[in-house]
Amino acid sequence: MARNRPDWLPRALAALLILTLLAPVFGWAAGQVGYAEPLENAAEATGATEHATAVGTALFPDYGVPGFGGATGTFVSAVVGTALTLLFGAGIGRLLGADTDGRQ
């Protein structure tokens, strides 16, 4: 990535950092009004909520970190998730990238 690093990358990474810092704030604010999405409302209306199961164990369940408080856990989850998607997304982009050896 370093050999052709685009000039917009540092600003994009700074924007990502700001978003991760905002995650705990928005999480707290959403908690103040109660968190319910239409999917949850549909599940409640049809009595499906009791059928929800968890297959496997997530490392950061519900975007939290066991042993950490809500805001800290949310921030750590935001940083880890953002970094992982950045790496995997860029990796996929690189895998699907043009063949610079002249295959094209």
Partner: protein, 212 residues
Amino acid sequence: MHIPDGYIDLPLALLFGALAVVVLSVAAKRVNGEISDARAPLLGVVAASIFAAQMLDWPIPGGTSAHFVGGAFAAILLGPHLGALCVATVVTIQALVFGDGGLVVLGANVFNMAVVEVYVGYAIYRLLVPYGEFRAAFVAGWLGITAGALTAALQLGLSSAFQYQLLTTLSIMGVGHLVLGLIEGAITASVYRYLARARPDLRPNAAPEVSA
């Protein structure tokens, strides 16, 4: 819109998982070898932005909250095929690392958010772009997320956990996301307009190799 395990009957989960694999395979084939070195990091940055933006739950007085999903945004900025791969990456990491969305139903969640929302959003954008990019991006974000939600409602309403109450799931999720989708549309259009003005070189027509 992330469906947990147990909500969708197994045959439906497998069917939509297979459909997602087929569409994403075709998408990967369509863009394989066509992304320049300079644009490769953009896929990662857009994916990471969508992940981080999805963690921002916008509180709405009255007991609900909404968050950006980003399918139409990814499609407009990256083109539909890369957009689908981008959102699929986000949804997969959310399920595997954070338990947001089930593992058995991962394919269905990918289908709803990375296939339906991305391709429907992109089709709407292309249809409306002659009337203005901002308007087109807004409607694409708005109706793209609604289409994804309706597909999820279809899967849920045809499953035993929801007692096959298809009309109930379609109405609650359809109307809910039709309203919440206005926020999705506003964010999609605003961020795209900002990027289009600040960095026109990132627009799809500036890099036709990642467009449809």
